[in-house]
């Protein structure tokens, strides 16, 4: 048993349901107790869906425990087949049903005799995989099922398109800014003269899966969902893929170059070169490269930040902070523990440490220890920031309804780079304001409560006495750096074995830290 208050990722069936309900005309039957259909609420609330979520629960209740649910599940599958006429029904086990160890696969086969729709059992283990791993697997399972099925009747469309074309894999509902990302990616690709063959699964019907091999290559937008499918297509149909997330101008350039490389490899006569496009986009169309060069951004150099989120976004934002804006990243972390190796190699040399954990209290403790000037994380880190009075930009799921904005807010491509630059810049205290506060000693007259017992216990530093003038001086320091100054001064005092912090000690401490 683990004592948990909060989690970064949901249970496996949520991942499966996100894939199933992203496809067109796919109905999911969830095998679980009453109240487990909370996914429908999230889809209807967070994504403000206009249509009923195509998910039905085959309710597990006392009768089911006594008699088994065979009859009920089969009845529900057949009923939904008649009512909704889906192309595919996905039977989704939940944590409850997986302990019952009923032969759900048997029910699937039995009901498939009577349905027009295909019927599949989602093959995920509730106690071993997370939400995103389950999504990744379910997508692979559905793609594989249709390609194998069609292979027997030679219906797969293997002939490649005339012009270079791609599949975008891993677009799914309830994902962070996904709709905007897809729109931006489509625009980018059309400017490069690349056709979109298919976007899976969002908005695609399973009938179209047979067209997947027509594309020249695949793009996996977020590595959490889609990698398995891309690897399968590579093995089965020799389709190359790229999983570079085009987030930030540098990574977008790398992404575009990778595309050129793939196209030139597939068709050497093409000899495509996108360098000119990258150059013009970076320097003139997108604002973010110029923005980081502009004078105001000098104030960001050397500022301290921490980053936490899913592996795609956390790695990408770390690269932007360090590589594009000169910000110091104290730690970069992810809750996608299974992807640790990739993550660490991506951010290697960019941050002082990496943090691979799904324990939000560990993240919070480290933040309060380091007291960065800004946090880039999930909704949980935003709340930690609120508590510690540190600004936070939300860069990754899990998210709230305000992270499903109505306006156009991509994270990928050149417009995405603009959006992210704004987000980062606005998260730090504005440059000039910062400067003036330091010169004039701040405009906040609120009493500093850093001496209260509650605050002390959070820190690891033993208590050192502060003289009254020293306390007053501390109050003159702008609010947002005060905690850090206090901590540094105390550390300094301890290292010098000073019992009492006087004005003198404060200044000495300041001087000693400046030297580093």
């Amino acid at each position: 048993m683990i004592l948990t208050y909060w989690m970064y990722e949901g249970p496996a069936h949520i991942g499966t349901l996100r894939i199933a309900s992203s496809f067109k005309k796919v109905h999911a039957i969830m095998h679980g107790p009453l109240g487990d259909d909370y996914f429908n609420v999230m889809k209807s609330m967070l994504e403000r869906k206009r249509d009923f979520t195509p998910i039905t629960t085959s309710v597990v209740d006392r009768h089911v425990l006594a008699r088994g649910s065979q009859e009920k599940v089969i009845k529900n599958i057949i009923r939904k087949d008649k009512e909704e006429k889906p192309d595919l029904v996905v039977l989704t086990p939940t944590c409850t049903s997986s302990i019952l160890q009923e032969d759900l696969n048997n029910f699937v086969q039995r009901s498939a005799f009577e349905t027009k729709a295909d019927v599949l059992l989602a093959d995920v283990n509730h106690y071993r995989v997370t939400e995103s791993q389950a999504a990744d697997r379910t997508l692979l399972q559905i793609v594989k099922f249709y390609l194998n099925k069609l292979k027997h009747i030679n219906k797969i469309q293997l002939r490649k398109s005339l012009l270079p074309s791609v599949n975008i894999i891993g677009s799914l509902n309830l994902a962070f800014h996904n709709q905007h990302d897809i729109a931006e990616l489509k625009r980018l690709l059309s400017e490069l003269g690349i056709e979109i063959n298919l976007v899976v699964p969002e908005g695609t019907s399973v009938d179209n899966i047979k067209m997947l091999p027509q594309a020249w290559f695949n793009i996996v937008l977020y590595r959490e969902v889609g990698l398995l499918t891309a690897e399968f297509l590579e093995n089965e149909f020799s389709m190359p893929y790229t999983s570079i997330a085009p987030i930030g101008v540098i990574e977008t350039a790398r992404f575009i170059r990778k595309i050129a490389e793939i196209i030139n490899m597939l068709s050497p006569t093409n000899n495509i070169n996108f360098e000119n496009y990258i150059d013009i986009q970076t320097r003139f169309v997108s604002q973010s490269a110029w923005f980081s060069r502009s004078i105001d951004c000098q104030n960001l150099i050397g500022k301290r930040a921490v980053v936490f989120g899913d592996s795609t976004h956390s790695a990408a934002i770390t690269k932007i902070l360090v590589g594009e804006l000169g910000i110091q990243v104290l730690f970069a972390g992810t809750y996608n523990k299974y992807d640790q190796f990739w993550f660490e190699s991506e951010v290697e040399g960019l941050c002082e440490q990496t943090l691979i954990t799904s324990d939000h209290t560990l993240v919070a403790n480290l933040i309060s220890q380091l007291m960065p000037s800004a946090i880039f994380g999930t909704q949980m880190e935003r709340h930690v920031g609120k508590r510690l009075n540190i600004p936070c930009g939300v860069i990754s799921a899990p998210v709230h309804i305000q992270n499903f904005p109505l306006s156009y807010r991509p994270f990928v491509g050149y417009e995405g780079a603009n959006q992210i630059a704004d987000l980062i810049y606005n998260s730090f205290t504005l440059g000039m304001e910062d400067h003036l506060l330091e010169i004039f000693g701040g405009h906040d007259i609120q009493q500093f409560d850093g001496f209260s017992k509650e605050n002390q216990s959070r820190k690891f530093i033993p208590v050192v006495e502060w003289s009254s003038e020293a306390k007053k001086e501390l109050e003159n320091i702008p609010n947002f750096v005060r905690g850090k100054v206090k901590e540094n001064t105390e550390k300094f005092a301890l290292s010098k074995e000073a019992q009492l912090i006087t004005l003198d000690v404060i200044y000495q401490a300041k001087e000693s830290f400046k030297k580093r």
């Binding site: 048993m1 107790p33 487990d36 909370y38 403000r48 249509d51 597990v60 529900n76 302990i99 709230h400």
Partner: protein
């Protein structure tokens, strides 16, 4: 619509395929109500995910509840339940020092037959904190019934010396009366005040503000429920504690509140005084709202068991109720409420709505499309899709989390009900009512 022209109460039961909250959601309001408690939900990631998302920002406020998340080793009994729970509860005691720990059993503990009731008494002694065990799982219960299971367990708790010391030494004019049901403190005071006006003293509440303030419940005490979903608690109080249940309608709406007080007075042999006038005053304050809803039709899809009381109040306000969906209908515990519903329909000259137990949301949506009610009370899973089809909805969960009891809060119910109708008045001229992308 000839099929709904009924003259007597009629009950139907459908497939039970409906959307509702899992009963573990009761920790959300119970941990706030019982201020020295800690709620430990023993379940899986699915339970945690639901709580985290359903309770939204509450989760960031360092709440006094947590998940004991079961791992594969717990399911396959490679880990020892007793040791695991001991480790977790010791940590909770260290961090939070609660006066009581509630263990909320879930579907998983039920299926793997974890003997929570057996482990608790031993562990209680070892760690020195009372442990109350409940089974608020989705196999057996819906949404608010979670509170029912917690209160039923609480009612069976042994009486501690502390509690006996707490007994109020008031001069009782009547047999002791215990009210059961969790309500916000201000609503508790409001209801107590109304009763005091009738010379009725409330001896105690189940639950009280603090665990240590729960009065011992003894034989022949009178007990009365304030919420329609507390049938297990009522049964426990009657059978285990030998209390006498006052079967009254629930104090929701001015009509319900008056009937509730009258019934209590009646049982305690007290002549009610000035109640009629009080009710009339409240109604006259509601005129503006009633004008807006009079003659309008409403459909309850059913998910929180407040449906009968709310429908009864809204019929009194002049609305026409097409269907009352409800997860579970205890005809004995709700007998007085059902009788008042029937009476209200006759007096208002409207047909008696069909009561649909364990509804089937899919069938209900077909009926809604056919009947085109002015307002549908439903869960969030269906609200936006219905709105997109031009059907006004009100989110049913809000009735659970708002103050709706007593004379004072009748306005709040109508405030909720009229919100979508008022919004429509503002938006109507725009002429965009259909937003759906599919027919159904």
């Amino acid at each position: 619509m000839t099929n709904i022209q009924l003259e007597k109460l009629s009950f139907e039961c459908e497939s039970g395929n409906y959307h509702t909250f899992c009963p573990i959601s009761c920790v959300a309001w119970l941990y706030q109500k019982i201020q020295d408690s800690f709620f430990l939900v023993i379940g899986t990631k699915t339970c945690g995910y639901f709580l985290q998302n359903a309770l939204g920002v509450m989760i960031f406020a360092e709440p006094r509840y947590a998940m004991a998340e079961l791992e594969e080793g717990d399911i396959s009994a490679q880990l020892n339940d007793y040791k695991e729970l001991k480790r977790l509860c010791a940590k909770i005691k260290d961090d939070q020092n609660p006066s009581v720990i509630f263990w909320i059993g879930t579907c998983t503990t039920e299926i793997i037959k974890m003997d929570l009731e057996g482990i608790a008494p031993k562990l209680e002694i070892e760690i020195g904190v009372p442990i109350v065990v409940t089974r608020a799982n989705g196999l057996d219960y819906a949404f608010t019934q979670g509170e029912d299971t917690v209160l039923a367990a609480l009612a069976q708790q042994k009486i501690s010396q502390n509690q006996i010391n707490f007994i109020r030494t008031i001069d009782l004019k009547h047999a002791p009366l215990i009210l059961f049901g969790s309500l916000p403190e201000s609503v508790v005071s409001q209801l107590e005040l109304e009763l005091r006006k009738q010379n009725v003293e409330v001896f105690g509440w189940l639950p009280a503000k603090r665990y240590s303030e729960i009065v011992p419940i003894q034989k022949d005490f009178y007990v009365c429920g304030v919420n329609p979903y507390l049938s297990r608690t009522a049964t426990t109080l009657m059978r285990r504690k030998k209390c006498r249940l006052i079967n009254a309608p629930f104090p929701i709406g001015p009509d319900g509140t008056r009937a509730w007080i009258e019934k209590i007075c009646n049982v305690l042999n007290i002549e009610p005084n000035g109640l009629q006038k009080r009710e009339k005053e409240i109604w006259s304050n509601l005129t503006n709202y009633i004008e807006l809803i009079k003659g309008r039709s409403i459909f309850f899809m059913g998910d929180n068991l407040l449906e009968i009381s709310l429908a009864r109040f809204l019929i009194r306000c002049g609305m026409i109720v097409y269907e009352i969906g409800i997860p579970y209908m205890d005809k004995r515990y709700q007998a007085a409420e059902l009788a008042l519903l029937e009476k209200t329909c006759l007096e208002m000259g409207t047909f008696i709505p069909k009561i649909v137990e364990k509804p089937d949301n899919y069938n209900q949506i077909d009926r809604i499309r056919e009947m085109e009610p002015d307002l549908v009370i439903t869960g969030m899973a269906n609200a936006n899709p219905l709105e997109a089809r031009g059907i006004n909805t009100k989110w049913s969960v809000e009735f659970t989390f708002s103050q709706i009891h007593g004379f004072t809060n009748a306005r709040d119910i109508l405030e909720l009900i009229t919100q979508p109708l008022k919004r429509n008045r503002n938006l109507q001229e725009l002429g965009w009512n259909q937003y759906n992308t599919k027919d159904k």
